[in-house]
């Protein structure tokens, strides 16, 4: 068992594991909402649009101060999300098209700004994450964001469920659907800011939706989807980190790979919605069908059934 406990003796590794667990839980928990609201593209767009936010924050603050990513990122992500809404409502374009345009433009402007102002950001770290390089401030920010997002969404669980299930009916019950959607989006952006340094822009979406998609294949319960997603995210993060430590590979990729393996297992072997189950069940229910007419075959007695 030494190979399993050995990493915990290093302070940097312990720290990464705690961060990974937290970020994994946060992502997995929020992922339930992302999957049920079908906002994967939105989530991907928002994560990319954080880059110009960081650049703007850097320029305004005059350096890589801790609040720069937070403030700038929040601003840039909201600008993209609301901009996409504005374009889709004021033209014939649909929201996914508008989002696609805005986030690539936004990401490009981030790249350009970083070059122009010689901002000392490693694009590789930005894209793929660097969980070992987290500062104390980053850690505090991750804790702070988790402690806001999870309790808030847990408190709003019921109205959010009604909104996700059917926004029209929710509105007819007096729920403020637009406000809730906005809160959800803010939570999404905060979660991304928290997990960005640890696992990077490219892998973020995987951390968000893979755990929730896994639970979605396993059960038919909304609360289980949220908390179960959190647990799977946490487990995937920690095991992925250990893997990356053992094999000396990038952490973000290892985390998402672990999550991918868990998802594949659920996809194949889920006792409810697994692929194997579908294949195995594919036999004819001929006898069962005939058993509905005790005694006589249907051709003989065309009488009414209830």
């Amino acid at each position: 068992m030494d190979w399993l406990t050995e990493p915990f003796h290093h302070e940097f590794m312990l720290r990464s594991l705690i961060t990974g667990a937290l970020v994994g839980f946060l992502g997995g928990f929020l992922g339930g909402f992302v999957v049920l609201r079908r906002m994967s593209l939105m989530a991907d767009s928002l994560s990319h649009s954080l880059l110009p936010g960081l650049a703007i924050g850097f320029i305004l603050a005059g350096g890589l101060v801790p609040g720069a990513l937070f403030g700038g990122g929040l601003f840039a992500a909201l600008a993209v999300a609301l901009g996409a809404q504005l374009i889709s409502r004021s033209s014939r374009l649909k929201e996914d098209t508008a989002l696609g345009i805005l986030y690539t433009v936004s990401f490009s402007s981030g790249v350009v700004l970083i070059g122009l102002f010689k901002i000392p950001v490693s694009l590789t770290h930005w894209l793929f994450g660097n969980i070992l390089g987290l500062s104390n401030t980053d850690l505090w920010m991750i804790w702070g964001i988790s402690l806001v997002v999870v309790p808030l969404l847990a408190a709003l669980q019921r109205p959010l469920l009604l909104t996700l299930f059917d926004p029209t009916v929710a509105a007819s019950q007096g729920i403020r659907v637009n406000l809730l959607n906005f809160v959800l989006m803010i939570c999404l952006v905060l979660t991304m800011i928290a997990s960005l340094q640890a696992i990077g822009v490219i892998m973020l979406l995987g951390l968000l939706i893979t755990p929730a998609a896994t639970v979605y294949l396993l059960c038919d319960s909304y609360p289980k989807m949220l908390w179960g997603g959190g647990l799977i995210g946490m487990f995937g993060s920690c095991s992925g980190l250990l893997l990356s430590y053992r094999l000396n590979l990038p952490s973000g990729a290892c985390i998402v790979l672990m999550l991918g393996v868990i998802f594949l297992a659920a996809y194949l072997f889920s006792p409810r919605y697994g692929l194997l189950l579908r294949l195995r069940r594919a036999r004819h229910f001929h006898d069962e069908s005939l058993a509905r007419w005790p005694g006589a075959a249907p051709g003989d007695s065309p009488g009414k059934r209830p």
Partner: protein, 261 residues
């Protein structure tokens, strides 16, 4: 023929001077009617006549340009728990992770509050709603594993658990076979007999007499409203269906049929 609303109906719904527009084109124009509780009311009219618009306006989903809605003598502003709007089946994500029971429990959420657990009273209301809609054997099924008629009953059960008094249904009988339609008819009648008010848009004129007690005939304007014997006349039907719907000035007429999105 058209009953003018006086807004003092103690046991029923009173609508007066209701106008709802999309982009300044009125879909409903100064609608006024009164209907007592314990009725099944058919909302009739050609496509684009404002049937869905009226249902949504009653449910508080659309802003009113003018008009007042009163229920049990009290003025209704926006959305209310007393009214339950049942969406068309196509509007639902049937793969949503919830069972029939979970769906019916949603009807209690706003009564229970955000945090509180379910009390015995809530459990009882859910059980009763499930039993009343004959869903007990199906309660643990995921909602996509239901037939069309069962899905409709699940939504009715949710409205029952919500303790709604007015049920607003968008084309509930569309696409149902005869036995399922009869079953739904019986269930709606049992709700009616408990004093609920059922208002359902409907397009099959042949089945109106069998399924409903009252009609509201719409074509942008209210043509007639009242008991079938009085309002469901050939003359009124002719007026309702043989008049083109209004979709704005002549240039906009190709929107015909989409006025109720």
């Amino acid at each position: 023929m058209i009953q003018r609303a006086s807004l003092n109906t103690a046991h029923g719904l009173a609508v007066s001077d209701l106008t709802v527009s999309y982009n300044r084109i009125p879909a409903l124009h100064h609608i006024a009617f009164e209907v007592g509780c314990g009725q099944c009311v058919a909302l009739l009219g050609p496509n684009g006549a404002g049937k869905s618009t009226l249902l949504k306006a009653l449910a508080g989903l659309l802003p009113r340009e003018t008009g007042r809605i009163a229920f049990h003598g009290r003025e209704v502003q926006g959305a209310t728990q007393d009214f339950a709007y049942l969406p068309q089946r196509e509007a639902i994500d049937w793969d949503f992770p919830t069972t029939v029971r979970g769906l019916v429990e949603m009807g209690r959420y706003l009564r229970v509050g955000w945090w509180r657990g379910y009390g015995r009273e809530d459990e009882k209301a859910v059980d009763e709603a499930i039993a009343a809609m004959q869903l007990a054997p199906l309660a643990q099924r995921q909602i996509s594993a239901l037939s069309g008629g069962q899905q409709q009953r699940a939504f009715l059960a949710r409205a029952l658990a919500q303790q709604a008094h007015v049920f607003l249904l968008d084309e509930p009988f569309t696409g149902l076979d005869k036995p399922t339609q009869d079953n739904l008819k019986q269930l709606l009648r049992s709700l009616r007999d408990q004093g609920k008010l059922i208002i359902a848009s409907h397009h099959d004129l042949a089945s109106v007499r069998e399924l409903f007690d009252q009609v509201i005939l719409l074509n942008g304007e209210l043509i007639a409203a009242g008991p079938i014997a009085e309002a469901f006349t050939d003359a009124n039907l002719h007026q309702t269906y043989d008049t083109p719907t209004f979709a704005g000035p002549a240039a906009h007429h190709h929107h015909h049929g989409h006025g109720h999105h």
